[in-house]
């Protein structure tokens, strides 16, 4: 009975709001519809409508997938202190972080699905009726860990919100074990995604041991940077207050991760260019261009400049503690990591081809429209989750079946 009311209240909360809220959700829906149209074209004609080809067989979709797995994994940076270390500053922010994880994972799954040439055969991936190549294929691992992480990040916040909704306190013994699991799981989803590429001797650009750690460093840069922006928005636009300590600690996490990321970038660049071998061809293509082909050069150079600039700003205590510098640097870092870890990582892996041929890749309108549509879907899901979670946490949304006078306010 409570569950029915919970779902009804959630639906009501998600569909009611001011004019700006409806305008925002309406615009997202419109963008999603454009994306759906693009995907319908792709379904009808095949992946030939994308910029991909037999040489560059992955493109914008897998680039965004890689980046977003990192965004999902980054929730661990709030989950670990809030639940395991019982850090008071993060108590109010952690549910939002889990919302980010859920929406990022939905986007990941959507990007993988639109990348499939034969999506109607996707049931071949399912246990029992399909034939999953586990434990051999890293993609099979990825299917398992991504869905598992999605389940964990749906269950934990749902349990906490639901118990608050029916006016009770969550029972720690029921959810804390899952929290511990999700901490390890978060690291594993991103490592598995890195291993998916690092395990390919055919692609020397990916085939090195630093790829996994570098994925984690860049994820813990872009993820918390996005969280700072989102929490600032929630804090300034709603009555739900986020503790200042949460911003300080997240800013510190972002800064240290960005510094480590830069050290790793430097280490990679040194290995590739100090004594360039045949294996450095892809890096050469990325940073300098190869035989006149240099489509990615402006992108990666922009990303590096933005990365170094924002990391330097955050490294200076006084600037990091100024709200505007902090928000500005976080936006810049988010964009820089998206370029560097998306197109800057996936596309050069295919150029030159294993037999040395150079065929460049650039996305078509269909890919761009579908990509933007999936991002709109992610933001839509995130907005709904936050819109439902906040009133419950503030004690404004309670089951009509409980006795109001005896119900405790939220933690």
């Amino acid at each position: 009975m409570h569950l029915k009311w919970f779902l009804l209240s959630a639906l009501k909360s998600a569909t009611s709001g001011g004019r700006r809220y409806h305008l925002w959700m309406g615009s997202l829906t419109l963008v999603m519809l454009f994306g759906a149209y693009g995907y319908s074209v792709q379904l009808r004609d095949g992946l030939v409508v994308t910029g991909m080809n037999d040489f560059s067989s992955w493109g914008l979709y897998i680039s965004n997938f890689t980046f977003l797995v990192g965004m999902a994994a980054a929730a661990v940076m709030l989950v670990l202190p809030a639940y395991v270390l019982e850090d008071v500053d993060f108590q109010k922010a952690v549910l939002i972080a889990e919302g980010v994880a859920v929406s990022a994972l939905c986007m990941c799954l959507a990007f993988v699905t639109v990348d499939l040439g034969n999506p109607f055969a996707a049931w071949h991936l399912m246990p029992v009726i399909g034939l999953l190549n586990w434990p051999r294929s890293m993609l099979a691992w990825d299917v398992i860990v991504l869905n598992g992480y999605l389940a964990l990040n749906l269950f934990i916040p749902f349990y906490i919100l639901y118990t608050h909704y029916i006016g009770k306190h969550p029972d720690k013994s029921r959810y804390v074990p899952w929290v511990y699991l999700s901490v390890f799981w978060a690291v594993s989803i991103h490592l598995v995604t890195a291993f998916l590429m690092a395990g390919l001797p055919a692609r020397p650009f990916w085939n090195h041991g630093l790829l996994g750690p570098r994925f984690l460093a860049s994820a813990f840069t872009a993820g918390p940077a996005f969280m700072i922006l989102l929490l600032w928005f929630v804090d300034s636009q709603t009555e739900y207050d986020i503790d200042l300590g949460a911003f300080r600690k997240l800013a510190m996490v972002t800064t240290v991760a960005a510094q480590i990321n830069l050290i790793m970038l430097g280490s990679e660049i040194f290995t590739e260019f100090y004594f360039p071998t045949h294996h450095a061809q892809s890096a050469h293509y990325l940073f300098f261009g190869l035989e006149g082909h240099d489509a990615l050069v402006p992108w990666i150079r922009t990303a590096i400049v933005l990365n170094i600039g924002a990391t330097s700003v955050l490294t200076i205590h006084r600037l990091r503690e100024s709200r505007y510098w902090l928000l500005g640097s976080c936006s810049v870092l988010f964009v820089a990591v998206w370029i560097e870890k998306g197109m800057g990582l996936i596309v050069p892996g295919f150029i030159p081809s294993p037999l040395g041929e150079i065929v460049e890749y650039s996305p078509t309108w269909v890919e761009i429209v579908v990509t933007v549509g999936i991002w709109a879907m992610g933001l839509f899901i995130l907005t709904v989750l936050v819109k439902v979670a906040l009133p419950i946490e503030m004690g404004d949304l309670r089951s009509p079946l409980i006795d109001r006078r005896r119900s405790p306010r939220s933690r």
């Binding site: 992946l47 499939l116 040439g117 071949h124 999953l132 395990g199 045949h278 892996g349 037999l355 040395g356």
Partner: protein
Amino acid sequence: MTERRELTFDDVLRNAGVREAQSRLERLTPDPATLPPSERERGGGCGSGSCGCAKGPSNTLLDKPLDRRGALGAMLGALAVTTQAVGACAPTSMESDEEREAKLLAQEEYFKGNYRLMTPEERAETVARLERLAELRGDGDVSIRTDGAVPGVMYGYAFNISKCKGFRNCVEACIHENNLDRTSDRQYIRIFEKPNGESINDLEHADATFGHEVPAEGHYYLGTQCFQCANPPCVYVCPVQATWQEPDGIVVVDYDWCIGCRYCMAACPYWARRFNWAEPEVPAEELNPRQHYLGNRARKKGVVEKCTYCIQRTREGRLPACAEACPTGARVFGNILDPDSEIRWVLENKQVFRLKEDLGTEPRFWYFMD
């Protein structure tokens, strides 16, 4: 008209494995007398026995008890198939019986399992469906074989760099033998042209798209294709086991099980795999009707394919089309387990090497010089 609409929806249920629809189907079968004359002439539309819709040639899902895999597959796929199926039967008067039959056969194909897990009966059924589908498509009388590896055979290939002159007869023969897509100008074989004195390992500066008269002065030629590695990275990475190595060493793809993720293409160090970015097209008059399930049968949009050493020929004891077409004798193919074979002689008497041996993929494709 309303009656017939309902009838067609029952077909959807029936094909998704719902048994009860059968009786309703019979009850709702329209009396030919009540149909408009145009429909009567054509045999009563959807309800008549001549049409695949009502009493199709092979109701595999319906006739045999469903196992767990089949039942779950049916339920799961019902959603995806509803769209196709509704489209398959809805505007009955617009469609010919053959179109309807093709769509129903395609639905049955949708639910079949991985080739390696099929029983001999299931293999026979899918082959019958595929052959009929080819006929309905206008591809004529196609025969698809499913014969397995011959015991005691392990195929190997050797390429004589001194003899290849870059004529590319092999490329042409491969296109026709394997029914490669003509629209995208698909080729499994690449012939690289290199100036004498340049190392074979340095393929970066080789040209695979030369358009001048061959052999060019001061150049040598080097062919690549799928090397059927003994340790194939492409097979490792496939998430659904849609590609595997047969006992005779040939790495094959189950085109109907492939989901089109293209992970194998990223994993191949020799750029041997190709993807069907659009629906592949081969003119019916150029189609090779002698086909193998794991070889040159029709592929579809969104799946991966590759060289199979012409599995449809080699399993019959014939040479691959490329080896047969080579006018210079640069290509040596055979059973490396047979001590009297030519390939064995090359491996025992020539200094041979393979591409990217440092990766440990162990290709079964060797290069040598005279």
